[in-house]
Symmetry: C2
Subunit: 143 residues, 2 copies
DNA sequence: TTATAAATGAAAATATTTTTCATTTAATAT
DNA sequence: ATATTAAATGAAAAATATTTTCATTTATAA
């Protein structure tokens, strides 16, 4: 289940952030995008429109949304970090050909986490699990 | 088991790369480093010494070593990607306080990989599993 | 409406990575 | 040993990415 635009805006408000037209537009873009988007891609898509949005605002908004857990970053694949909207605990399957990101869940890492905690003394706060491969389309197209 | 300096150099030679003093110095730095190192950190450590090493050479060498699987990148934690030497298939446990990287193995993701492949049609090539938390020292120091 | 703290965006600063190309050099052949 | 040559280096510039600063605008609440 992906977060809706409405839900994201509600959470923003809940935390005392203002709902500016810029933020609405950025959220809309991230939510409507099927795969992950870079700050630059959002900028390209939005900065001609109304309102005119600066790249700085995009960085700032993505930072807030990430901090609130409303969007998350994709690390593998290109190597750089991209963002994608999603909700609940899940992981990413990333196409190295076209950048498509598929969310998946159902992998319970609690056991492993406990083992690691026990063996290393770490207090584990977070984890990152991503698979990289070729989606069906890219396999067919021989990317 | 971490790769030794000698082993890394042998593999480099095996693939037809030349063993320059610069490459030796870079490999030594990465191997001796307990945690992950950034290109900039390697540069700071080496560019005063003999031989004088340029940042470009560091980027190029790290790229080769990564491609040959002799070192690998760390994605989570700071957000940027860092490199660390290691061998064999393993994953990372990263301290968000001090950057310490602990390797761990023994997590077999083949079953999950198969499931995802079946469900999505992806041809999976690689994966990334990282845990982030606080190491014992940083817990104590209240970082 | 008005007041005001938050948000914006242009510009500059900072940081990161890649490209170019003349020069140097490691490894091979002699 | 020495010469040869393709590979490697590094300075500089270019390209890319991100953050900071600060004057101006604006969403929200009083």
């Amino acid at each position: 289940m992906r977060l809706s635009q409405k839900k994201i805006m509600a959470v923003l408000r809940q935390y005392g952030y203002r709902l500016t037209p810029q933020r609405r537009a950025i959220i809309k873009t991230v939510v409507l995008s099927q795969d992950h988007v870079t700050p630059a891609a959002i900028y390209d898509k939005l900065h001609q429109g109304q309102p005119n949005i600066g790249l700085v605002t995009i960085y700032r908004t993505l930072e807030i949304l990430t901090r609130l857990g409303l969007i998350c970053q994709v690390h593998a694949g290109g190597g750089h970090s991209y963002t994608i909207s999603a909700s609940g605990h899940h992981h990413h399957l990333i196409c190295s050909g076209c950048g498509l990101v598929v969310d998946f869940a159902g992998q319970n890492l609690a056991g492993l986490e406990q083992r690691l905690s026990r063996e290393t003394g770490f207090k584990i706060e977070d984890h990152l699990l991503e698979f990289v491969g070729l989606c069906q389309d890219c396999q067919r197209d021989g990317v």
